[in-house]
Amino acid sequence: MECNGFNSPRSDTFPAGLRVLVVDDDPTWLKILEKMLKKCSYEVTTCGLAREALDLLRERKDGFDIVISDVNMPDMDGFKLLENMGLEMDLPVIMMSVDGETSRVMKGVQHGACDYLLKPIRMKELRNIWQHVFRKRVHEVRDIESHDGFEEIQIMRNVSDQYDDIYLHNGGDLTSGKKRKDVENKLDNKDFEVGPKKILDLMNVPWLTRENVASHLQKYRLYLCRLQKENDIKASFGGIKQADLSPKHTAGKFGLHNSINIQQDDAANGHFGTSDNKIPPHNIDHKIHEAELKGIVSMSMTKPKKAQIVNIPEPQKLSSSGTGLSHSWGSLEPDPKYAAFDSTLTMQYSWRDIQYQEYKPHLQLENSFRHLPLPAIQNHIQVNTLRPVPSTNTIPFNKERDKPSPVEIQPSGAKCRSQQIRQVAPTGNAFDLLSAQSESCMTNFHTSSPPASATFSMKNQGIDRISVTDLESNKGNLIQEIGAAFACIDEDLTASCFQGDCCSINLGFQNIAEVSPYLYDALKFDYENPCDSLEYPVIIDQGLFIA
């Protein structure tokens, strides 16, 4: 059954036929779980030892769809096993234990567990485990951006196998499982000359794209970053380094999704390393204009990098609206995926904070966009909206949370923005996207930025006011949402802030705050009233109109 994982019959009758591996030192539980899973029409393999389980998994790479493991086991810590399994085989792993303490559950999730079940386990809980398998597949498909998601996943797994030998001698701390990741990791370490392109060529798999390779690399980086974070805060820089490498990947990626991810990665890089002046901001600006309909997302992504670079050295000087956009992008947070990188996020935040004093609204907006891998069209729109925001960034998102920033908006910037805003107007959806992004940003940021409830609430009010008066229902909603978003900063409304999409994000109070300033800026331009923060909402409204 393991041999033909690609087109196994289970895909037809999913979730029946799911291949489960159960690992538990208690024979009683093994028996019970086996029986329960069989009742769900799954194919069960039981294992009493963690080492045995790992061997089994390595032996039959595609032999299992999901692993259920106990936490306390004599020969190996359940969490360690969990990590190894997730890393090597990228299988969804479910933890289970008698102990349901929050700290334990958190640890499980931190180590990558898809779920944490409490013993005694009931049938209905086991019936649902297929969702984790399905979810992983869907995500893989998205990452890969392939048409035949399942096949690609399988292929990728195969490829990892192929590279076992190649990278065995490289050793290191990488397991044989994700060789591609190894290679890419090495790339990060700059010890080897292998890159995703090279890996791809080596693999010589027709339908495998660099995106696929990159997505694996990202995952691996996530893992590494997490490890580093645990070790040292400075380790985050290491993560940054890895992120730095991502720009290389970005070059090769055309998929919107990928580019977004990568760019975000890059953005992350930008955040950390002011020295990472990789992307000249100006180029990006142009691109943004050009690529409006297509690669805007990607553009914006790169922009952040530029922005970061520029901003960091001269936080005060980002007055030029043209570059402002790019700059603002810089601080954008990387793909929500990277939200896991706590260190990364914090770094970004701090960086952004610096920036924000000067520009920020831009950045934030852009950041928010970037975070959300929104459809290209929307991204496109967002970019436009963001552009107008350059100078008004003065709105203190992060740092100046305490003060109502609007006053600092630079008129010149405002003008630019207004122009841009008008351009943006036709896009319309931008704000929706913005809000979505901001939300996403928020989620990312929430970890690091200190809540600025005071200032934001003010803005919210302004926004609400304006939105109600000026915008059409849609836009008004957005603004209100934005306003709500700010309110969320108080950590209450996040859920309610945004309609539909946004709600999911919930997390970033700060993000919201950050985003909103941008929105304000955008609005302002329309009205060309850069001075008053309250006016921002108006501007935003305008932007919304565009949407």
Binding site: I32, S97, M123
Partner: protein, 112 residues
């Protein structure tokens, strides 16, 4: 036939009393539901397994307790295992006792 029916009735009564007294809980019901045609002795098998396993654990526990200076960590580990096993078949009382036992271990209370 009469005898069989009687025995069955007794069994049901006994089982109910076990539930009522808190010896058994929902998990046991789950186990019973798992039993079906393909595996008629499922419950018996599981319970036997449990007895074997817990016997081993109890032996270990006794040994550990008889030592001069009991290693509470080990005790705790054993009890934790027993707790897990007992919860698997729904042995509620045993599970509760295990929890109490573990508290004693935390306090390093030999008396308990």
């Amino acid at each position: 036939m009469e005898g069989v029916i009687q025995l069955q009735r007794q069994l049901v009564e006994y089982r109910t009393s076990l539930y009522n007294e808190g010896f058994l809980d929902d998990q046991f019901i789950q186990l019973q539901q798992l039993q079906d045609e393909s595996n008629p002795d499922f419950v018996v098998e599981v319970v036997s397994l449990f007895f074997e396993d817990s016997q081993r654990l109890l032996n270990e526990l006794t040994k550990a307790l008889h030592q001069q200076s009991s290693d509470f960590k080990r005790l705790d580990a054993h009890v934790h295992q027993l707790k897990g096993s007992s919860s698997s078949i729904g042995a509620q009382r045993v599970q509760k006792v295990c929890i109490a036992f573990r508290h004693y271990c935390d306090e390093q209370n030999t008396e308990g």
